[in-house]
């Protein structure tokens, strides 16, 4: 697992598949180790549920709904529905 952490720290993006290949193991093995490291606070998940605001830059009709944190957010109709339409995968990063 220390090798895994080293790879994670070197500043390159990798998919779990690539990590598995480099470490001669399976994606599932990488995934469980990532899960462990996340739980231990060694790496953390990056929130990609970000306010993706209305089509043009003059802001939403209700400008506020896009700047308040997502958990308090009243989705304005023109904002990207945060849960419904996101297929961005997962991102983790090493906690410094």
């Amino acid at each position: 697992m220390d090798k895994l952490l080293e790879l994670l720290k070197d500043g390159h993006a990798r998919t779990t598949f690539m990590l598995a290949k480099e470490l001669h193991t399976t994606s599932d093995d990488i995934k469980r180790k990532l899960e462990y490291m996340e739980n231990m606070g060694i790496i953390k998940r990056v929130a990609i549920d970000m306010p993706s605001c209305s089509g043009s830059c003059s802001g939403c009709v209700s400008y506020d709904s896009c700047t308040v944190p997502s958990d308090e957010k009243v989705n304005c109709p023109s904002c990207m529905p945060s849960q419904e339409l996101l297929n961005m995968g997962e991102i983790w990063e090493v906690v410094k």
Partner: protein
């Protein structure tokens, strides 16, 4: 209580504890809170073979490290000796992962047995689990069942009874052997006396101390001399303990499972498309091509809608004639035809692009392409001194710069955040992607595609140069940030939700744009309308005065005013164009036009006739790379809390936009 045997259920979230608990206890359960905590406490009882059992559902947690209330409660409960036997649940369909709780339990001396739940799913996945082999290795009873099928509970009761009568303890010797190869472990273990925490072996405590477990460390600090504790501190600080012990635990799990579980080895490999996207050299071109194709595809639904807008625009002449014939005042005619109809025509022409671009980008995201895009550009980000996750704000900025600005919140480092925002400004936003293609179509017809390619390339260059200029003061290159991206599988978009979103956004854009365009159009119309016959309107005088300067950037003064208006919002430029290029010359020309019937049928043609292609190109580049809009400016300030940097970025963008316009103009002169 004393004649009852108490069972504690231990397992990770979703292991099936509640299902088992409910099935065993039926109505005999009681739900409360753990003392002093908001964590739910579930207790119940049942009778089997005339023996009474009390059962406690411990809170689900990933492990037994003191990272959360749940974990501490679980540990304290086990340490208290309240449980006679612990039933450890694991998901048999993914044992490599779910046996972690068992591995973390190793070293605890309370009798236990292992329940491999979700047998049905494991079977479905073609996993064959040799329960007997596992029992031999672990030295505890092991049951394989589906908790949601009560008929299978016979084996559960058998295992339970065996564990209780034999007081079966998990064999952790092999794990301890592995631990003893870890740096620091042996010294730690030697320093820790047995019984610091009852029911927890010193090897368990040593491993937790190595993992920086706060509760264990506090306990040690209380029981040890200050000198000894200092040594403990030094040992654990010298190593990445959690990584080491974690590795040992997973290796132990693999050893336990080897020979006991055979599953069809899934031969996973990257799909063809992903092999291209994640390719070292092909990745970037492939991704850029995909975005480009996406943009071009988004114009397909837009172009017919543009026709509708144009048709609407040609209503100008008949309406003007009709109004003249009923003797309406000229001011009204001009206002109605040159402001209202003109603006609406432009907006209609633009809406198609809003619809198309939103739809395509939403689709790319939904399918999973956007995730690949951000993946591919991660390493580029590192070269710019940014973190991989800065890609996300950039992608969002394709929709709206303000969203991108707000999205930069995920970046903790202030300098990187400022740089991310500064670069996000260079990404043409949704409004630019609708105003610009629309104007380009008017001026260049099919040449719009070339213009879009040129804009994308310019964008990349712009970002590169901007990063070099701003980067020096904001980020230092040593800050490397690792990142792992799990690319999502491709899937079909949820069309219903997608269309609802696209329509909502188009409608919203329409409403906002109508306000902005009309407002700007009215203001500029007023400024350019000569109320006193024969006098020159203010705007005309200002315009001709500044024209020598604006010509330098390849724009007529009218276009330059539109450029200024585009700082408010890209669509503002349309308002100005609508007001200033309306088929009449300024001052008295309006009357002549009405009298002489010299009003052009088609506004777009008129525009194309009045603006030379190099000028149009200069203008298009100027508004595309101008500062995005006032709201983006405000939200930038809000995010970076620095008026100085906000102003710097804004001024920089205005200057660069003008320089780009000048370059575009001269390139245009070479072409045409």
């Amino acid at each position: 209580m004393s004649n009852k045997t108490t069972i504690a259920l231990l397992g990770q979230p979703n292991a099936g504890k509640s299902t088992l608990f409910n099935a065993l206890t039926g109505m005999n359960q009681h739900v409360g809170n753990w003392p002093g905590k908001t964590v739910e406490k579930k207790e119940g009882s049942f009778t089997h073979n005339k023996k009474e059992y009390a059962i406690a559902d411990l809170p689900g947690s990933y492990s037994l490290t003191a990272n959360s209330d749940e974990e501490v409660i679980t540990r304290d409960f086990i340490a208290s000796g309240n449980a006679d036997v612990v039933c450890i649940l694991a998901d048999s369909s993914q044992l490599e992962r779910s046996l972690f709780m068992l591995a973390d339990y190793a070293g605890i001396t309370v009798p236990c047995f292992l329940l491999l739940n979700m047998a049905d799913i494991a079977k479905e996945k073609g996993k064959n689990i040799d329960v007997k082999a596992l029992e031999d290795k672990l030295k505890i009873p092991v049951v394989l069942l589906s908790a949601n099928n009560k008929k299978e509970y016979k084996s559960f009761y058998e295992a339970l009874e065996k564990a209780v009568t034999n007081k079966t303890c998990l064999d952790s010797s092999r794990l301890e052997d592995a631990y003893s190869n870890l740096e620091g472990y042996n010294e730690l273990k030697a320093m820790i006396p047995e019984g610091v925490i009852s029911n927890y072996s010193s090897s368990w405590i040593a491993s937790k101390a190595l993992e920086n477990d706060s509760v264990v460390l506090a306990k040690l600090e209380n029981t040890m001399s200050a000198d000894d504790y200092k040594k403990v501190d030094d040992i654990r600080n010298a190593v990445q303990g959690a990584v080491l012990t974690g590795g040992a635990k997973f290796a132990w799990i693999d050893e336990i499972l080897s020979g006991a579980v055979d599953s069809k080895k899934e031969n996973v490999s990257l799909g063809k498309l992903d092999r291209i996207y994640t390719h070292k050299f092909l990745g970037k071109p492939a991704v850029i091509l995909t975005i480009l194709l996406g943009l071009i595809m988004s114009f397909i639904p837009a172009i017919p809608i543009m026709g509708v807008g144009m048709a609407f625009g040609s209503l100008r002449v008949p309406v003007a004639e009709a109004l003249t014939s009923i003797g309406a005042p000229d001011v009204i005619i001009s206002l109605l035809c040159n402001v209202v109809i003109q603006s609406l025509a432009f907006i209609c022409q633009m809406l198609g692009f809003v619809f198309g671009v939103t739809l395509i980008f939403g689709m790319l995201e939904e399918i999973g392409i956007m995730a690949r895009v951000s993946y591919v550009f991660d390493n580029t980000m590192a070269k710019l001194g940014l973190q991989g996750k800065s890609v996300m704000p950039f992608l969002v900025s394709f929709g709206c710069t303000m969203g991108g600005t707000a999205g930069s919140r995920v970046i903790e480092n202030w300098g990187q955040k400022v740089l991310t925002i500064a670069l996000a400004w260079a990404v043409p936003c949704g409004a630019a992607w609708s105003v610009v293609p629309m104007l380009s179509t008017i001026f260049f017809g099919n040449g719009v595609f070339v213009v879009i390619v040129a804009i994308l390339i310019t964008m990349l260059l712009h970002m590169w140069i901007t990063a070099k200029i701003f980067g020096r003061g904001l980020v230092n290159a040593e800050n490397k940030y690792g990142m792992i991206m799990e690319l999502p599988p491709y899937h079909k978009p949820k069309w219903g939700a997608l269309f609802r979103y696209v329509l909502g956004r188009t409608k919203d854009t329409f409403l906002r744009v109508v306000t902005v365009v009309m407002l700007v159009c009215v203001v500029f119309w007023l400024l350019s309308y000569s109320f006193v016959e024969g006098s020159e309107p203010i705007l005309f005088r200002i315009g001709t005065a500044i024209e020598p300067v604006t010509k330098f950037f390849g724009m007529s003064w009218e276009l330059f005013m539109a450029f200024i208006a585009s700082s408010v919002g890209k669509e503002g430029a349309l308002g100005v164009i609508g007001a200033l290029y309306n088929g009449q010359n300024f001052s008295g020309a309006f009357y002549e036009a009405m009298g002489g019937g010299g009003v052009a049928e088609n506004l777009n043609e008129l525009l194309a006739a009045n603006v030379s292609k190099p000028q149009a190109l200069a203008f298009i580049f100027a508004i595309t790379f101008n500062m995005p809009c006032v709201v983006a400016l405000a939200s930038t300030y809000q995010e970076i809390h620095s008026a100085k940097w906000t102003a710097k970025i804004a001024i920089y963008y205005t200057v660069v936009a003008l320089i780009l316009a000048m370059i575009a103009y001269h390139v245009g002169l070479l072409i045409w």
